[in-house]
Amino acid sequence: MRYSGFKVIKEALTGHKGWTPAWRDPAPQSHYDIVIIGGGGHGLATAYYLAKQYRQKRVAVLEKGWIGGGNVGRNTTIIRSNYLLDGNEPFYEFSLKLWEGLEQDFNYNAMISQRGILNLIHSDAQRDAFIRRGNAMILNGADAEMLTTEQIKARYPFLNTDDARFPIKGGLAQHRGGTVRHDAVAWGYARGADGHGVDIIQNCEVTGFRIENGKCLGVETTKGFIGAGKVGCAVAGSSSRLMSKADMRLPMESHVLQAFVSEGLKPVLPGVITFGAGHFYCSQSDKGGLVFGGDLDGYNSYAQRGNLPVVEDVCEGGMAIFPAFGRARLLRMWGGIMDMSMDGSPIIDRTHIDGLYFNGGWCYGGFKATPASGFCFAHLLATDTPHPTATAYRFDRFEKGLMIDEKGMGNQPNLH
Amino acid sequence: MHDLMPITALGGTEARIDAFDHVTITENDGLALASVAARMGHEKACHTVLEKLLGAVPGPGKAILHDPEAGFWMGPDQWMIGAPRDSHELLADQLSDQFGETASVTEQSGAWVCFDVTGPAMLDLCERLCAVPIRRMVAGDAQRTMIHQLGCFVIRRQDADHIRILGPRASAGSLHHALITTAHSVA
């Protein structure tokens, strides 16, 4: 069913009787050409582009719970392409371009809102690094602008510019950055993929891979064996757990990242502001909640919840930069499992097992990557060659010393 | 003798005292400090010297409030020794002589700011500063903890209403500010 202005008006006037489920609830078939494990943003996007862009007919997405229940439903909804390194920037810029046309493409309003993102600068060394980064963005065809303290003050008069421990010395803005209604991304891709014939199978947990003679033949699931020509894994924080079923060890750790939302407030923050020196970033949702976060808790965890010290640390950063937020109230906190890779950058690659493909290591930056991740993974699955913007995301880059380390933190996942 | 005049950790020529209704915060500028770490294989000999010096070897989380030298445990096989600066200006050299090959001695006099917190509101104040279980600590308990993001030692002294706080000297001003604002809160 296509959503249109006419349809919306008609249903409103006739008691909404005509709306049908956004996606089907099919029983799994015994064999698919391509099976995607993971009904999160990346898995659903992969299926969507496989069906739509790469004309794959027999595709299934297997989700152990309900689609969209992982990180796509528990993030801070930011999109941006303000990366530094050659291995990353073209990919994230490709992603941002896909975001820009996504709603018309999948006929679902995900409330993509390019109200801009601003990275605050607090030291000369940081300014040098941000100039290098801004230049890299522009050289890669993205947009970037350097703002002065005065320009920032004019736009955000309530930022702490007078009594700050680390005074604001400018900022790097990307005006095309912004936010998206995160749940709607999962639902939009699911609905779109379903419309192109993809079977989305919920409550179907993969319990093992059937691998014979170095080739993956399909997956064992809680709903029985499902054969597959190719299997693509896109399970983010559960990657190590899943791939261990294929006897693989991955260059990543699973960490908890907390995020926070305040009570609804009348609009104060148009775009996204990041305060790197204070481990804090914030935006305001269309509903009025301040959505904010900071650093990882710092220890391996699959518990989907964090602890008080980081809550306090994040709020300290918030109060340092927005002293007016003291009287706003934190409404809810939650935690997601981050697939923190060893250099802070993702992997989209074949594995050493024939027919088994992997997508993961998104760290805390997977949401903004969703469209490009799906597109590039679909490209790899359909053509067996990496997409031109994702050639660096190889498994063997650690062995070869070709890390893509934006932060320069080395092989210490909790510092990326 | 040289003519260089030392200043206190708070930058003054005299130690600072802040008195509130129920608590007093005193900058203690009179301490000489040196750390002692046992050399590998000489642990027993090192303990013997410590015992001679302090009367006993401070165990983990403990201080020996001995006079004139006192000491507390910093880490495995590592202790901080303190003594009045007037009489022990060259404490590190003196300790080096005493410990000889049994321990590595490092001068720490300059590294710390020391505050004595006394008075009936000491417990309330401490509760709002750091996570040590102050009401359960007894005289001679010495814990390292975070105060205002600074790694500090908190030592419970003989008097029931007295703690000594050693913090990093370069942040003496920030630590003092934290103590004063907290004193305002609880006094």
Partner: protein, 95 residues
């Protein structure tokens, strides 16, 4: 979280800095023929179990001990805490 320090008793984990998989103690032999591969695995393929995990924590705001903490990554329960130095010796490390 609370880490029950073997020498100091229960301490808030906020006093510690985390490094991860305790197998980082097992630094490979740099002279082995397989050193390149060994160091790659040592440096990059760490344990990431959903369940019990031996991991290194540094008592940064405390006694500066490295600890090996056995912790469940699903529940955060901690079952054992040892001084890393003792663990290292028990695994044959020396100088």
């Amino acid at each position: 979280m609370i880490i029950d320090h073997p020498l100091l008793g229960p301490r808030d984990s906020a006093e510690f800095t985390y490094m991860g998989d305790a197998r980082l103690i097992d630094r490979p032999d740099p002279d082995a023929e397989t050193a390149a591969q060994d160091f790659y695995e040592y440096g990059y393929l760490r344990g990431n179990p959903a369940g019990w995990h031996d991991e290194l924590w540094f008592h940064e705001a405390g006694d500066r001990s490295w600890l090996v903490v056995t912790r469940n990554t699903l529940t955060h329960e901690i079952s054992k805490v040892q001084l890393a130095r003792d663990v290292a010796r028990s695994r044959g490390r020396s100088k």
